[in-house]
Amino acid sequence: MELYELTALELAQKLRTGEVTQQEAVEAALSRIHATQPGNNAFVTVDGPVFSAADLYASPLAGVPMAYKDNICTKGVPTTCASKILEGFVPCYDATVVERLSAAGAVSMGKLNMDEFAMGSTSETSHCGPVKNPWDLTRAAGGSSGGAAAAVAAGEVWYAIGSDTGGSIRQPAAYCGVTGMKPTYGTVSRYGLIAYASSLDQMGPIARSAADCAAVLDLIQGRDPRDGTSLDAPAGGLLASLTGDLKGKKIGLPVDCFGEGLTPEVRTAVLAAAEVLKARGAEVEEFALPVMEYVVPTYYIIAAAEASSNLSRFDGVKYGWRAEGYEDLTSLYCKTRTQGFGSEVKRRILLGTFVLSSGYYDAYYKKALQVKALIKKAFDEAFAKYDLLLTPVAPTTAPKLGESLTDPLKMYLSDIYTVSVNLAGLPALSMPCGFDGKGMPIGAQLIGPALGDGGVLNAAHAFQLDTGWHKKSPKGGDAQ
């Protein structure tokens, strides 16, 4: 077995026993990066080789090579959000997650490609070129954390930190056949995450197993005074709590997530996953969640509104790139923003400005916040009956490159199963549960109630004890 086929926890164990040295682990990562980067374009900055001489007992993942999505601030390492407007930006501070992981002995191999400012569902809106799926280089890796999912799938790093505003961890994890978790909103500090939509953004792990995700979350969750929305809730102990026991757990299958628009192969694989959970003791039952019809428009109104406000800070003055040939201050702003942002980012800024503008605010933005209240209520009611929900992650497997860019609305609609989780602030995980006829991975999503991260991870762990989908890797780590 090659080193890059191990899980992060398995590699950490070998590092502690001395079976593998840290230099060997870093060299294995670098050699995979050099072999697969020309194909999948998962990295935007390779920051190695770095020998931190990590204390191998600092945490259960100490010494394991990993990487960060490029919208997470890393002191002294370029952080661009895969955008021209942040070209040359080198943060003078680390995000809280980076600080915490560094203290836990994480070894960063660099920064991962993504949709520009995390806006997109295929990692094709990147200024650094599209990420390609390691299972088929003619297909998208998903987005917006496409580089993170591709790098883990290809064996370039053992885990990665991504961000999820409407599915950006879970959907690329599904497309690339790896496990990804968006934790409960407020449990991971957003300090140092370059904001897209602050009320929805949350960082989390992409790894090879639910146990690896639990180990990462144990290190990064917990109150941080530098993020005003950070919850004062107990953190840690997730890895230790994984028993794989689902006896007496009730899992709801929202019928509205298995209807029109869902590819039959995805439906079959997710329903088969429900049978595995049943065999481990869970009760599975269908129920109606009609609010699903409204989640995509609600999400795009709120996300675009917050984006238009958050991205006003990029103006060519304080950091990043500045256009040439301006006459006055307003033209400096306009030229820099017009030339510095890509078209999907501009589309969302304009949409957000529109829904917030005088005369349209009540009809769109306020309406969306009201529907958000109804969506939260519907999930509260569901969790009064069920411990977990099981749905597909996306209606299809990874699309061909280029297919999604021609029709933005179609791309938005593909986010249907993931966005409601962000609107309701819930924890949710994407796990591999099969392959389609073309050999592309399929993902199933487990959703838990707020602060039910442990229950979500335990169900995924139970599933992975009985299945081997998460152990599959693309031939040679990257299609040739």
């Binding site: 009320s199 005003g228 109104i301 307003t330 529109f354 969306a368 209240a373 109804l374 933005p408 609305l409």
Partner: protein, 95 residues
């Protein structure tokens, strides 16, 4: 809802963006389709529903008013596309 090029001009100006003519025409059509799709929310009765901004009831977060070390000027100016070592440089903003 009809989105016109005049509306796109107006929101572009609010957003400090200047779309070239061709991009503006395409963007107008795309925004119209997206906004038309969003109108599905109007089929939902939300009378008496309070808009929900924060998903968890947040109380005001206060901290002690203590001076803590900040970054020095040089460090913060290092990321600027134009600075003179003292300040960020921009074109003259007032006459």
């Amino acid at each position: 809802m009809k989105i016109t090029e005049d509306m796109v001009d107006y929101i572009s100006q609010l957003s400090r963006l200047q779309l070239p003519a061709e991009e503006k025409t395409a963007m107008t059509a795309e925004l119209e389709r997206i906004v038309a799709y969003m109108d599905v929310l109007n089929t939902l009765d939300t009378t008496d529903v309070e808009p929900l901004s924060h998903i968890f009831p947040l109380k005001n977060v206060l901290r002690a008013d203590e001076v803590v070390p900040s970054y020095d000027r040089e460090t913060l100016l290092a990321g600027s596309p134009a600075g003179d070592g003292e300040t960020f440089l921009v074109p003259k903003a007032v006459e």
